[in-house]
Symmetry: C2
Subunit: 481 residues, 2 copies
């Protein structure tokens, strides 16, 4: 473990993070809401700390090892959230560090769970920073899931080695650089399109950018307390639904589509599963809402499609208080939370490809019982999936459930009711944001006790970094050699 | 598929079931509660139908095939519940067939969920029959899980091929006969001990037998509306706790212990895991109850140990209304529901051995990430577990969760609140009985709508027969050849 190199790389990351604080600083300058100095100081401290780490540690230019990769990823996110919480602290929007760190972690993990009670009262520079942390976190996640995790062999992500765009290189560093360049172009392009469409509908640049960041990262921070619902405009609902679906789709496929290969979407079995599940859930929820809540099919579809897409892509924007909907719909939404978007997107959850693989494996076990001596391979997109990959996915699935149960049992130990304990963990480990109970769509996370906030911070990180990246650091064996 | 042989075997089973109706008939004769004719008729119809099936179908004396095994098991339980519901219908204790069939299925699957609202008002012959169905179901389950499922290769049960007592035979029929003989002796012996101990505490023969049947089968039907709590006697609580723990332990180990090999318990890693989990949960719950509910540690331990054991062994007897306990305790109990007892016992749930294997496999995936090129086997009791077995267990785990989610989503669609929808399925698929919400320890299942009752009947069967035995019959591939 070459700690020097690890700190040097983290330093570079922090330095660039400091530079991005110029954008909210510009909005502070323009709006003069009183948060100007908070950003000047934060940017100075963050770039300074980053430069310091980068310069005092002599980095080697050698290849990053497997184990170092895990440490860099975990440290990267945790320290981004640390420095990202500086503007909140310095602008005085939170009274305690845990709240500032919660909000920053929720931003960078693209969760969107908030402890900011009075959103409309907050300085706009701060609101812009909140949304920007989503967008930056989303950038990180795309590169992490397409370029880094497949090579670390985390939870079945090996499957995607073949799908990485750009020149094939089996070393980690050149691949990250290549992939990042290609995919960030796609990310910026789609984000630009959404911003323009939102402005065309009447949002100003500030609001359009904030909501674009929240959508593209499947984050969910809004500039309004009652989220997208406060605009009450079907046009915005429609635009955001479309871009949430895009944000939850593998960005490697977007890249292929932009090079003219639109069939890439249809040839990808995960995307077919993702869209089919989304469509099925929308249909069911629309029918139930038409029967119990709304007068017309169109209105039912408008609210059903928004909430279903928002939850399944793990965005967390809302246009309706789904806690008032029939328990069947609430239950369906909780199940969708765990499925999540497709791998290689900014969406959270377990990811469609894993659920699809587990379904196929469950189906195979039935076949095996019928034909005990037959060899029945599991295929994905025509390719046979190796037993090693399948076992990685099983391991992921089980550890996910285990961490989920432990975290939610602890939440219940803190005195939360069963539904809030269950759903607060579901909404953070799957990186969604709003849940049910005390953390429902019309509430926020301020009422959660301090220890509970730390547990949920852990859940956001562990869920976002595909579980193993964090859990592995807690195994003593990892640090021995 | 030799349907003739299948019907002949099922006929034999039904015939013997009819003979067992003589026991409740004797209690009806003694107590004269008005249910005598119900038993005379039921016994006549059941033995008659069984004999008819046995005689008109010409059975071959050949070996039973793999696929025929699945059909016999499923048909056996479903038809036992059908004929077992006759006394309820003929005695008029239920107004509809679905309720009678629910009660009979709940009996034979050793679940203990009841739709009998006024237990104290029911004829004692009927109450005895209710409890006897538990005991007979428990007999079936022990043989099923130790002698039959390992050979059908269901969900990792192959692991236990080695543990089957008696002469080793790889053919299904002689093995069933041998194993059944040995294990039923053990079952009857332990049951006799409990009956004597309960009578020594003051129960009459009727009550002692009924509660022994409920305990040994980890069933949970009682002769009183408020279950064991109505006796309010620490002696009974203690005796029943001990026998619930025994009933949830692999009966092949009891057999070995009775032949003098007491170390068999300690050498079995599943039993160590089962007892450790039980002890850990008792400890935690005792502490929480001491803090929040009871004045002394002894009282807290008395109620904690009973409820924890009853839920984890999937018995379902209660001595306290745990819905009044802190949400942490309720949550813990729900988690214990899914773990269940050990394989080869009458306990339900996923079984300790599977959870243990999944934990080991999850741990192995972490090691694999640290040492990507190492070969790391999963061991159980010193033996390397084959990948095929591990995959069976994963398949079981995932299908279990899938069926659970589908069933509980349908329950919520019927208008039940989220907790009742979730826990009613958890309490039936894991064969426990009482749950939370509208099916809490002080309630029963009468308020569940008719379709919901059928769903729960399906859950009880599918959970009790280790999932695959029922699910496989729903796969079209199974019926082709």
């Amino acid at each position: 473990m070459r700690l020097g190199m690890i700190f040097r790389i983290t330093g570079a990351l922090i330095f660039f993070l400091g530079l991005t604080m110029i954008f909210p600083l510009l909005f502070s300058l323009y709006y003069r809401d009183g948060d100007l100095w908070a950003f000047i100081l934060s940017a100075a401290i963050t770039t300074g700390a980053g430069a310091f780490l980068f310069l005092i540690f002599r980095g080697t230019n050698q290849e990053i090892s497997h184990r170092e990769g895990f440490v860099i990823v975990a440290l990267g996110w945790a320290s981004a959230a640390f420095f990202g919480s500086l503007p909140y602290m310095l602008a005085g929007v939170f009274s305690s560090f845990v709240e500032a760190y919660f909000e920053a972690t929720s931003g960078f993990t693209t969760t969107g769970a908030t402890v900011l009670a009075a959103i409309e009262g907050a300085p706009r520079g701060i609101l812009f920073w909140r949304s920007l942390t989503h967008w930056l976190g989303g950038m990180g996640i795309i590169v992490l899931s397409i370029a880094i995790l497949p090579f670390l062999g985390v939870g079945g992500m090996q499957l995607f080695k073949a799908e990485v765009p750009g020149p094939v290189a089996d070393k980690l560093k050149p691949r990250i650089a290549e992939t990042a360049k290609v995919l960030w172009k796609v990310y910026i392009l789609i984000s630009g399109a959404e911003t323009l469409l939102l402005m065309a509908g009447g949002m100003d640049l500030f609001e359009a950018l904030c909501h674009t960041f929240g959508t593209m990262a499947t984050g969910g921070f809004s500039t309004r307390n009652v989220s997208i619902g406060s605009y009450d405009k079907a046009y915005f609902d429609g635009v955001i639904v479309v871009f949430m679906i895009l944000a939850g789709t593998n960005f490697a496929l977007h890249y292929q589509a932009l090079t003219g290969n639109f069939r890439a979407f249809y040839r990808n079995s995960e995307v077919r599963f993702y869209w089919a599940t989304l469509a099925g859930a929308m249909l069911f929820v629309t029918l139930i809402l038409r029967l119990h809540i709304y007068d017309t099919l169109a209105t039912a579809f408008r609210y059903a499609s928004f909430q279903v897409t928002s939850i399944m892509t793990t965005t967390g924007y809302t246009t309706a208080d789904f806690e008032m909907w029939p328990s069947f719909v609430q239950y369906t939404l909780v199940v969708l939370m765990f499925i999540g978007g497709s791998a290689g997107s900014t969406g959270g959850g377990m990811k469609c490809v894993r659920i699809l693989l587990l379904l196929k494996q469950g189906r195979r076990e039935l076949s095996r019982l019928i034909h005990p001596h037959g060899v029945i391979p599991v295929r994905l997109g025509g390719q046979v999936v190796s037993d090693g990959v399948i076992q990685s996915v099983w391991g992921f699935f089980f550890l996910f459930i285990l961490v989920f149960i432990l975290a939610s049992v602890i939440m219940s130990l803190l005195g939360l009711d069963i539904i809030t304990a269950f759903v607060s963990v579901a909404a953070t480990i799957n990186n969604i944001g709003p849940g049910l109970g005390a953390v429902g769509p019309m509430d926020n996370y301020t009422s959660i006790p301090v220890i509970g906030k730390w547990i949920l911070i852990f859940c956001m990180l562990v869920g976002r970094l595909e579980l193993y990246t964090i859990i592995i650091l807690l195994v003593p064996e990892f640090w021995k050699r």
